[in-house]
């Protein structure tokens, strides 16, 4: 980012070029994206941009979900939450079952069924949060997606 630069060369700082930054961050996997959000405030703000997460969620989905999906997902909590709560665990667990060969778990192509399943689970998660916010639940209330959240003993 900064360095010993000669006077002749103009300094290049990627932080000045947010669109380039976004293009770079778009290609990261989930974990790296989260880590990058810890780098500095600017990166944190950018990483919050939901379109990054949207790209992350569905870039390997084939066929890609229709555009009508977006408002629903946004309403249910956004792509970042979708990724953290549903897509990441689903991909990693389904990925476990596939042939080894790909180290990067995000490279797996997943089908419409997988997408559908993730969305359904996401919706259930939203519904449960509704129940808890409505004063009915304790803070540590259960979640039906707990089976996704718990560490998997591989």
């Amino acid at each position: 980012m900064e360095g010993n630069v000669k006077e002749k060369r103009p300094r290049f700082c990627v932080n000045d070029h947010v669109d380039i930054l976004m293009e770079i961050l778009k290609r990261l996997d989930g974990r790296s994206l989260c880590v990058s959000a810890c780098v500095c405030r600017l990166w944190c703000t950018i990483a919050r941009n939901d379109s990054l997460w949207e790209h992350l969620c569905f870039r390997h989905a084939s066929p890609p979900p229709s555009s009508g999906v977006r408002p629903v997902i946004v309403a249910l909590g956004g792509y970042k939450r979708l990724y953290m709560v549903c897509v990441r665990p689903v991909l990693s667990r389904l990925g476990r079952l596939r042939i080894a060969g790909d180290s990067d778990r995000d490279r797996r192509v997943w089908t419409r069924d997988g997408v559908q399943l993730s969305l359904s689970l996401f919706c259930v998660d939203y519904y449960e949060r509704l129940g808890r916010l409505g004063g009915g639940g304790d803070a540590s209330g259960g979640s039906s997606l707990m089976f996704l959240c718990k560490p998997v003993n591989v």
């Binding site: 249910l76 919706c123 259930v124 039906s144 996704l148 718990k150 560490p151």
Partner: protein, 604 residues
Amino acid sequence: MKRDHQETIGNKAESSSSSMDTGKGKSWFEDDQDAGGGMDELLAVLGYKIKSSDMADVAQKLEQLEMVLGSEDGISHLASDTVHYNPSDLSGWVQSMLSEFNNLPSTDFDSSILLSSNRDSLLGQPSAITSLDFSRNSQSKVFTDDSEYDLRAIPGVAAFPQQEFDRSNDRKRVKLTPIGSDTAPAPAVNSLQSPTASSTSTSSPQAMAVSGTLSGPTRPVVLMDSQETGVRLVHTLLACAKETQEENLELADALVKRIGLLAASQTGAMRKVATYFAEALARRIYKISPQDYCLDSSCLDTLEMHFYETCPYLKFAHFTANQAILEAFADASRVHVIDFGLKQGMQWPALMQALALRPGGPPAFRLTGIGPPQPDNTDALQQVGWKLAQLARTIGVEFQFRGFVANSLADLDAEMLGLLPPEVEAVAVNSVFELHRLLARPGGIDKVLGSIKAMRPKIVTVVEQEANHNSPVFLDRFTEALHYYSSLFDSLEGSGMIPRSQDLVMSELYLGRHICNVVACEGADRVERHEALAQWRTRLDSAGFDPVHLGSNAFKQASMLLALFAGGDGYRVEENNGCLMLGWHTRPLIATSAWRLAAGDSQQ
């Protein structure tokens, strides 16, 4: 070697790790047997040479010897006239010792019974003690016990040996204790008094011919090989159920206590299942009406939520039913779902989301939820409806909700629901674990099936437990339930997840309530009248419904869902003539099926 005989015998009864039959006993030792010329290796290390094949025999004789030595007379003889034998050839040594004792004129085993007070500790277990040959004992009473490891035991063991006393049965073993040990007087039913001395002497030689069964260590040990205890546990459970069925309540009571003891030596799923069944049996025996326990609906709802969270059964049910409904609603612009058991409405968010993302846009969605009256008069249905309405607003689906409170589904009529004609709205009827309750009252199920037909649904989805817990014979029901819930508990155990243990406990409590209902309740209270898919098929078929095949989408979704659960390899989705079944390993546990009105059925 003075010993407290009662304690010894009690402990021996508990500590006997006798094998099921000779075959098994030998195999236990075959494991120990390595090359060494057939000598048992472990004992060889200690300096004793015994052939592995002789082990059973030697052990038996050692017990006999112990009995003899336990009496004062034996000891005094030894003290006065000693010949020392080399014990390293253990079998020869034991043999010679025994023959010495048997020749003694002064050996007097005036033994009296015991065990009538300890009958419960001996039931269902082979006694580990053999008799001695003492032909002139005039006052002895004997206790006979059957080895229970084959199924003969189920009819036989609980039936007291009084009538079997003179049967020459070479598996019978006879137990003796010297007089002087404190024995409780035998209560009437289970008295083991021996008839007369003459029969004693006739039976004893037969008893001597007991074939080699493995006896346990002579030191009192409480824990045994838990696999064998597991088998013993199951047998005791079944024996107890049988006795309960035949109203031999004292005996059943004793067996129930025994189950508790045996269950303590198990771990994991078996222990829990046994505990729940024992409790349910106890309730049945003591006629404690478990109404509040089994039927309290609000409590059950909470438990069911935990069950929903920890294991895939309910999720499977919901997802597969939703898929069928979705496919049936493919082109409709107004849809109406009637849910026979709304509870927390966990099934509907997923359906609503799928409808919202439908290629042509979401239809107008109407939901009618039916539920039982709440004990605290809160309107639980409305609260659920409100939450669903919020969700619908969020995802942009037009939504209407109506709740019906009914004690039983049979109280409802199609007219009450205010249905629009089928050209206007497509109706789906959904029943998840609700239909079996109607079997508790005569005519209930027929009335409801008639109402369903009057609703003219496009599709009816039915999810039920895949087991027959509705047999009129209690023992059959019990056995079936034991196997079913064992598999279910196994799957909870084996799912390998680490949810907060509280959830697991709650799920088990939830299942425990069901167990209690199946075992302890009768008549109209017994609502958990599960029936197998084949039975439901017949019933729905004859009521005028045609099956609808659940498509491959449902199968794929279900398989994927199960793969997400950590114990995914244990769960299996099977397709059975268009119905989907979820099971644990080889045992199917719940089944989803879809139906529509039979073609040609007259419109009502």
